[in-house]
Symmetry: C2
Subunit: 177 residues, 2 copies
Amino acid sequence: MPSAPQIRPAPADKRRMILDAAVVAFAKRGFHACRVSDIADEANVAYGLVYHYFRSKDEVLDTLFVERWNVLLAFIAETDAQRIAPRDKLYAIAAAIIDFYRYDPALMKVIIVEVMRSANTFGLRHVDKIAEAYVLIGEIVAKAQAEGTFKREVSPRFAALAFYGAIEQVLTGWIFG
Amino acid sequence: MPSAPQIRPAPADKRRMILDAAVVAFAKRGFHACRVSDIADEANVAYGLVYHYFRSKDEVLDTLFVERWNVLLAFIAETDAQRIAPRDKLYAIAAAIIDFYRYDPALMKVIIVEVMRSANTFGLRHVDKIAEAYVLIGEIVAKAQAEGTFKREVSPRFAALAFYGAIEQVLTGWIFG
DNA sequence: CCCGTCGTTGACTGACCAGTCAATCCGGGA
DNA sequence: TCCCGGATTGACTGGTCAGTCAACGACGGG
């Protein structure tokens, strides 16, 4: 045998387990109604361990959001760098967001419902990160306008808001059947 | 003098005062962070009086939402009944929603942020009422498609979601500067 | 003028839950 | 084999707050 089986999982695994459990718990009951003990139970872990890996319940949600949003931002930047038509870029981004939802509806639900839309608490804390996505999308629109592919009637920023808003609303519609 | 001044305001006034104060309080701190005592203080009214007029803190928010949403539904229905182009109907509806915001930003903020977007709690309770608006908008689209004014590429329901989603996102953008 | 009704008051209670911490466990190095 | 340090446990605490309730006060009718 190359290596003895690990009785105790590596620390990183427990941390991951807690994050994954939090997604399920938050999606099931919502962030506010969900107790830290729900997360611990879902992860089959002691209550206190959550506080070993995270400073607070908020930090758990923050971590989930940032992790996922960074993936989205990277995808948008990457898509923008490709040599394809602006319309196809936007199509690819919309498809990616929808795929995120298809791949992990619970996580997407948590991010949309608990972070994006909790404007007074988490949204406020992540405004800058969220705005980055709008800026990137806006830049795609601006470039397309400059080269004459898109009409100039609408400001890039407004277009980006409407673009993302439409997608999010459709996802919200799916989330609730 | 036609009538002696009322020392004690009519009951309905106190109820209204509480509702108006709740708008301010909810807008300032968010529904969850806002204590019932904040509402009472804002209304210059004793804590217990809130519970004389409303069964719970939730009911206060519910009342605010239903009041306002009914106005919106009536406006949409009324607009649809007019003999104008479908595009103008949608324009009028978008303008009305934006006017609601301009006229009373705090109330609109509360409704969007705390109800529409609190999908696990209030949104869930008002899903049907919210869906009514989508249905009405969808019908406008469907009629326009039937008469050939709008393209048929997009389902009316999807169009309605995207239409409202775009508006809401723009308002959300305004709400947070 | 007194009494009943209902609007009004705000101190109090009971429940809930985030976060703490002292104790325990486990693997590995000496 | 014995420690050491980090992982893990879960009972406990402190504070918060929604909702209750007993008492008070103003008006109107008898």
